[in-house]
């Protein structure tokens, strides 16, 4: 073999042109078919989100992650013996780097009955000073990525992008429809985004509330159009009937003042297919919360949350390891997109669940339930609730910077 390897003379022959051309055609065909396999579009021209990544990702995708998450939550909700709590929580804090001095009940850890309870701990008042900047961090964590959005694509990590429309559920052909604060139960329920059933008669939302949707009438009235949502659109605002109206209005007015009254009272659609205002740009930032971090999230600015969209999905780990490997991670996972506006226009905040923290709580939305048993609907579908009843002036739930909004719970 050695002799053959070293002594056999190499002879070069020119390939016939036809063979070379055939080779090029074959390579081009292979490349094209691979591209068409990579991006598959549905009947509306929207990309079908599928699991893409190396073999490790597919192995994880085969696991019953949602069930594992619920079991994990159940195990961690079990009450721990009182004698064990301080030892266990101190061990956990040592392992994950928690600062016990800044948490509530730091002098008596026995008040946390389970690991789940400790995980969802509160901080002492004043533990987190709030910067006067227009945008502050909504959570303790690590910045995974940030930047400007171009061509409606958000960069997950360097080189891997996902669709902004898929993340937030924005449908260019069917822009979001605002439903004003409605007390009548018949009016507060809107099926399939476009139709409301009142005493057996179907009305389009355009007919009902005079929404100036730029959708064509044919599109709106097409009952066979594939629904982008499941379930019902409900007004999930929680309004305390005993709340003093003057206080409420004063609070709303103070937020309106901070946001700029003109913008606060402006009911124009943010996004929904419309481009950003001249001189503006879309930005994004992704914050990763590690297991030991404080897991409640706060308002990053003064803004009004107009609606939430709950996307039931998978519960992959969202660690940087997975973010680098699994494409469309934040679009595949269960998440709650809170959409609204701030003084510069559109604003949204999307808490994304993970295997260990599948449950997302939003304080002003008691109707929200995440990580429920059952097969998740196809990616891209969502349940929507509007918060218009929370504030008559602002048409949504007003929030001030660093106000607690909710959090992630184990399982």
């Amino acid at each position: 073999v050695m002799d053959a390897w070293t002594q056999t003379p190499t002879k070069w022959y020119p390939l016939p042109i036809a063979v070379g051309a055939l080779l090029l055609v074959a390579l081009q065909y292979r490349r094209k078919s691979r591209r068409s396999k990579e991006v598959q579009l549905d009947e509306n021209g929207m990309e079908i989100i599928k699991l893409k990544g190396p073999w490790q990702v597919h192995v994880l995708g085969a696991l019953p992650l949602r069930n594992m998450s619920r079991v994990w939550g159940y195990v961690n909700s079990l009450e721990l013996p009182v004698w064990f709590r301080p030892i266990g929580f101190r061990l956990y804090s040592f392992a994950f780097g928690c600062d016990l001095d800044e948490i509530e009940h730091s002098d008596d850890l026995t008040q946390y009955v389970s690991l789940g309870d400790f995980f969802y701990r509160k901080l002492k008042d004043g533990a987190r000073p709030v910067d006067p900047a227009v945008l502050v961090s909504p959570a303790d964590g690590r910045i995974l990525h940030l930047g400007a959005i171009t061509d409606h694509k958000v960069e997950q990590v360097k080189g891997i992008t996902y669709s902004l429309d898929a993340l937030l559920g924005i449908d260019k052909d069917h822009p979001p429809v605002y439903v004003p604060a409605m007390r009548d139960p018949d009016l507060s329920i809107v099926d399939d985004q476009e139709f409301a059933d009142i005493n057996g008669i179907e009305y389009t939302l355009d007919q009902l509330i005079g929404t100036s949707s730029p959708s064509t009438s044919e599109e709106v009235r097409d009952p066979h159009a594939p629904p982008k949502k499941f379930g019902k659109q409900v007004d999930a605002s929680v309004v305390d009937s005993d709340r003093d109206l003057k206080d409420a209005l004063a609070h709303d007015a103070s937020v309106a003042l901070e946001m700029g009254v003109k913008t606060a009272l402006d009911r124009r659609r943010s996004m929904g297919g419309k481009p950003v205002k001249p001189g503006n740009q879309l930005f994004f930032t992704v914050i990763y919360l590690a297991p030991g971090d404080y897991h409640r999230f706060h308002s990053p600015t003064a803004w009004v949350v107009e609606k939430r969209r709950h996307f039931v999905g998978e519960l992959f780990s969202v660690s940087p390891y997975m973010a680098k490997r699994l494409e469309n991670l934040f679009v595949l996972n269960e998440r709650v997109a809170l959409l609204g506006r701030w003084k510069y226009g559109f604003f949204s905040m999307v808490p994304v669940g993970a295997t260990n923290v599948g449950s997302i709580k939003v304080n002003f939305d008691q109707a929200l339930r995440t990580n429920l048993r059952g097969k998740p609907p196809p990616p891209g579908t969502y349940a929507e609730a509007v918060y218009s009843a929370a504030s008559p002036i602002l048409n949504g739930q007003p929030l001030i910077p660093a106000q607690e909004m909710g959090g992630f719970c184990l399982g």
Partner: protein, 32 residues
């Protein structure tokens, strides 16, 4: 768990943090 913020802001908006940096609630992320 992860939080994604997507927002419209003037082109003069600048982030004051960088990828990989640890942040706390209320810490400045960016300003106009």
């Amino acid at each position: 768990s992860t939080i994604v913020l997507v927002f419209e802001a003037p082109e003069s908006f600048e982030f004051s943090v960088h990828p990989g940096q640890k942040v706390k609630v209320g810490q400045r992320l960016g300003d106009v």
